[in-house]
Amino acid sequence: MNTEKNIKTLLVKKPLKLDCGKTINNFPIAYETYGSLNEKKDNAILVFHALTGDQFVTGLNPITNKDGWWSYAVGPNKSIDTNKYFVICSNVIGGCLGSFGPSHKDPETQKVFGTNFPVITINDMVNAQYNLIEHFGIDKLFSIVGGSMGGMQVLQFISNFPDKAKTVIPIACTSSHSAQNIAFNELGRQAIAADSNWNEGNYNSKDTIPDKGLAVARMAAHITYLSKKGLQEKFGRKLQEREDLKFGFDADFQIESYLRYQGSVFVDRFDANSYLYITRAMDYFDLSKQFNGNLSDAFKETRAKFFIISFTSDWLYPTQENKDIVIALNAIGADVGFVEIESDKGHDSFLLDVPDFLSALKNFLDKSYIEN
């Protein structure tokens, strides 16, 4: 992928001590912005992306030539209105769209890191991204927003920087990765590791990437993003361009064909080692553990206004896990609102056209901005 020319990067000179003990410095953070920062610099929203997202939130993604991953929610007159707000989003460290990650060269050895890249955490990701706020000279963000792993980053960010955001919107996420979450991530990682091209992470030419393993990882994960009802309604037992079963192992069913397609397009845009690193960061995420088992303590320093959103059919980060965050916030009298949105679209609901979600997000932001 020759992507350099479309990617804005900030070179962070300040050393960053990672949770694993290693320190990185002079590392790039790739980012994108939308809208414009006003004079008072009080209209900035930091958006955090999910596992396979990137900095291209909306508009045309110049790398994939497809719409940005949150085009339904972000843009002119949309929920996160770029006519009004200055939206910043960066590729997480460990990622593969310009930020410091396993596909970069180790400056010491001049070899691609691969699995020699340090293991990073959600905490490391947000600490790295904090540099962007300083870069833009923003004292306080109007909001921090993200779904799924983006929501985890939201929680970690406000815990680390309690006075740096006025409003906080974690969506369809959790404060602690569950055994089931870890299990699915491990399935994906093992699928990659089982591909002989993976070669312990040392694959350098495009012909030898572990694309089969990565595609299987994506297929398995993709199922977890949808609901049983959603799958049944969209695909049911419908057959793929055939009249009857073929008594073989080609994709007889539309759902098989769909998943294979999802796997195949994913490998063109995502790096297998990044997939290992980012899923690991999610698995290590346990905010209450960072505060000796008391999640409330993660938020006790902040005066920010929280708005937590979950979806009825999300079984990956179910409502109860989102509610646990609400409970922890109520326990310390924080300003917290919560809504569970009715949707059959599963965990992916936050990325899709779900009108109740989009209007709740817009109303919360716009009303909070007026009171600002």
Binding site: K305, F307, V326, I327, N330, A331, G333, D335, V336, G337, F338, V339, E340, I341, E342, D356, S359, A360, N363, F364, K367, S368, I370, E371
Partner: protein, 198 residues
């Protein structure tokens, strides 16, 4: 805004912290926030109504009073308001206890089943009463535990709950309830409003 909310709003001083349990579309919350600088939170079970509150810029939590009050610490609000929903809970006594645990004081309003029109309906028609405040049929009403103003007064007294104010409402007409006029108010009021504390 309906008269009931005006009376409730008068019971609450400026700048207090208030939880509105079953806050519906947030009408009372918005009034308290705008006119009395109240730090207001709502708890509401209906998704549609939660959306309406969000559209008004109100902090509301989607949830069920019987399950979700437990998450609030003791005495974390100056007032907890429960408007015309006590009778709809499976266990109203438990809810009253929770209101008084979470709030320093609670304001509870009840549709009065002792109201003369209700008594007359049952007496003359012999069917379950249907009125403006109780519009549902017996088979689809959410109201499981109807009570009268007198029942509620007896209940709180038996539980050693202090009553600071009891107010009777009949349309536009607002009056105080005391020990001597309890029987009359129980007949002529369609709504009772109580400020209580444990």
């Amino acid at each position: 805004m309906k008269n009931e909310f005006k009376v409730i709003a008068e019971l609450i001083e400026q700048d207090k912290k208030v939880l509105d349990v079953g806050c519906a579309d947030g009408t009372l919350m918005k009034f308290l926030k705008d006119n009395k600088n109240i730090n207001i939170r709502g708890l509401e079970i209906s998704k549609d109504k939660v959306q309406k509150c969000i559209a008004k810029g109100l902090t509301v939590i989607e949830g069920n009073a019987e399950k979700d009050l437990i998450q609030f610490p003791d005495k974390s609000f100056d007032y907890v308001v429960l408007s015309q929903t006590l009778q709809a809970f499976l266990n109203p006594e438990k809810v009253i206890n929770e209101l008084l645990r979470v709030g320093k004081k609670a304001i509870v309003t009840i549709p009065n089943f002792g109201y003369w029109k209700i008594r007359l309906h049952l007496l003359t028609k012999g069917t379950m009463p249907i009125t403006k405040t109780l519009p549902d049929e017996w088979y689809n009403t959410p109201n499981l535990h109807m009570c009268t103003i007198k029942d509620f007064v007896h209940f709180v007294k038996s539980r050693n709950i202090k009553i600071f104010k009891s107010i009777a409402l009949n349309n536009e007409n607002v009056s105080s309830i005391n020990d001597t006029n309890l029987g009359v108010k129980n007949l002529y009021a369609d709504l009772g409003i109580f400020l209580i504390e444990k």
